[in-house]
């Protein structure tokens, strides 16, 4: 849950203010609109429980970063937001995930539709190797039966522009997607994800295989995309989480330890486990 924000009042004494740790006084701001509401989510892979009773609200048009050591369940949780974890055999899940109030796991909901509404970018860019740059971008639309070439061309340019890649590839749309650099390939995958006009973009360590310049471009892109999309990203890079996210969730051993505004988590976390992890005192 997003932490309840308490403002201090002028009549409080100094000591009182210390004893009641205050959040940044943003009480004038309306509570954020929520894209996801995950409630008591637990997931098992066979006998092994990957995440345990995680409840987390994801604000709209904001970047939420999920951090935590390897194996803490952050990628599993991310995948639960578009039902991708179900692709792993012998998966079982408890709890609910609401997307704009609608239960993603309702029997009437088609997982393929969920994955179109909630796009995902992976650690390693994965353009389709046999397709051109242009084909890669619109493949999702084609698979959904769109054949109108004018519409496809418009969406192709729009998506590549939004992914900040258009200027670099507009004359090479016929070349293979794999001919691009690693950073360009990752932005191509983002363009591919944007082409089907999702509501949310999930990113699983999107920059971990990129050099600092390509990373900066993706981070800048994330910043621009949040005006239109809700973004949830998993990252091992704490500095990156600090730079790009509005909210940060810290997970450990399958549990959500702490969640709150990124500034709060990185300057004054409430939980000692969070403090130990982000300051490098873990283990």
């Amino acid at each position: 849950m997003v932490n309840v924000i308490m403002a201090t009042t002028p009549e409080q004494s100094v000591t009182e203010r210390i004893e009641r740790p205050a959040q940044p006084p943003v009480s004038a701001e309306p509570p954020p609109t929520l894209t996801f509401e995950a409630k008591n989510v637990s997931i098992w892979y066979g006998e092994k429980q990957a995440i345990e009773n995680v409840s987390l609200d994801i604000a709209s048009n904001a970047v939420t970063a999920i951090i935590g050591p390897s194996g803490c369940g952050k990628s599993t949780f991310l995948r639960a937001l578009n039902r991708m974890h179900e692709l792993v055999p012998k998966t079982r899940m408890d709890g609910t995930v609401l997307l704009h109030g609608e239960d993603l796991y309702s029997k009437t909901v088609d997982p393929a539709i969920v994955r179109r509404r909630v796009g995902m970018i992976f650690q390693k860019s994965n353009p389709f190797p046999t397709m051109t740059i242009g084909e890669n971008v619109v493949v999702g639309l084609r698979l959904n039966g769109v054949r109108n070439q004018k519409f496809l061309n418009e969406r192709l340019e729009k998506s590549l522009r939004m992914a900040a890649l258009w200027d670099e590839v507009k004359d090479d749309l016929h070349k293979p997607g794999t001919s691009l650099s690693g950073g360009q390939q990752q932005r191509l995958c983002i363009a591919r994800s944007l082409a089907v006009e999702p509501e949310v973009i999930l990113m699983d360590e999107p920059c971990s295989a990129l050099d600092p310049i390509a990373t900066a471009k993706i981070e800048e892109l994330i910043h621009e995309l949040k005006a239109k999309y809700t973004i949830v990203t998993v990252t091992h890079n704490m500095q990156q989480a600090g730079r790009i996210s509005d909210y940060t969730a810290f997970m450990y051993l399958g549990r959500l330890i702490e969640f709150g505004p990124t500034t709060k988590i990185f300057t004054n976390p409430t939980e000692k486990q969070t403090e130990d992890y982000i300051t490098g005192r873990f283990g």
Binding site: P10, V14, P21, T267, N268, E275, T279, G280, R281
Partner: protein
């Protein structure tokens, strides 16, 4: 609070070196102020000269702390309590340097006073000195022990120091009107009082930083806290 050690040993070493330099700087500043005031009360020019000489080492430490602090920010990108401690250390060094400057000013004025017949009114300054030094020592203790209550208490004691300064200044101005021969001497005592009042202001700043480092609470300008 005893924190676990960082996985990265060099990070611990760097933080420890930064903290030790701050404590050394605080020790030298305390010594400089004590020497300057003892030089005034005991009319000892040598002590005044020592207080002035201390300033150079304190200035060097200020630069070293800033350099080390920037290096830690650059190399380790500290967060949470580590970040607050580094930021607080850098702010402390700036306040300590300015405190030591007050010590130098006091020592210079004390030397001038020592060249003239003693003024019994010098005792008007003593309560201020004792109060300012107790604020200073407690502010450093609050930083060292991460004691939020002590830090907050120091902040509230600054008002008393201001009152003592007003009281001493008023009495010295009265004396100036009565004894114009000693006008320059009384004026020097008024300036020394003002220096001590500023020492209290810096101690307040240090206490506020100590609270920030320990509890991430900004207790400066309470009237603004609810509106910003």
């Amino acid at each position: 609070m005893v924190a676990n050690r960082h996985i990265l040993g060099t990070f611990d070493e760097s933080l420890s070196a930064l903290r030790n330099n701050v404590l050394m700087m605080a020790g030298l500043t305390e010594r400089s102020l004590e020497r300057a005031m003892k030089g005034l009360f005991d009319r000892d020019d040598d002590l005044c000269a020592n207080a002035i000489a201390d300033d150079e080492e304190i200035d060097q430490l200020e630069m070293q702390i800033d350099k080390d602090g920037v290096a830690i920010l650059l190399r380790f990108q500290p967060v949470a309590s580590d970040l607050r401690r580094v930021v607080a250390a850098m702010k402390l060094s700036s306040n300590l340097e300015r405190m030591a400057d007050q010590g130098t000013t006091i020592a210079r004025r004390a030397r001038k006073l020592n060249h003239h017949p003693p003024l019994p009114e010098v005792e008007l300054i003593r309560p201020m000195y004792e109060h300012a030094m107790s604020m200073f020592k407690d502010s450093i203790d609050a930083f060292v022990r991460e004691d939020v209550d002590l830090g907050c208490a120091v902040v509230t004691r600054d008002e008393k120091l201001d009152e003592l300064n007003h009281e001493a200044s008023r009495k010295l101005i009265d004396r100036m009107a009565q004894d114009r021969e000693q006008l320059r001497g009384y004026l020097n005592l008024i300036f020394i009082g003002r220096c001590l009042e500023r020492v209290g202001d810096h101690a307040t700043n240090i206490a506020e930083e100590a609270v920030y480092a320990a509890a991430a609470q900004d207790i400066r300008h309470p009237s603004l806290t609810a509106t910003t």
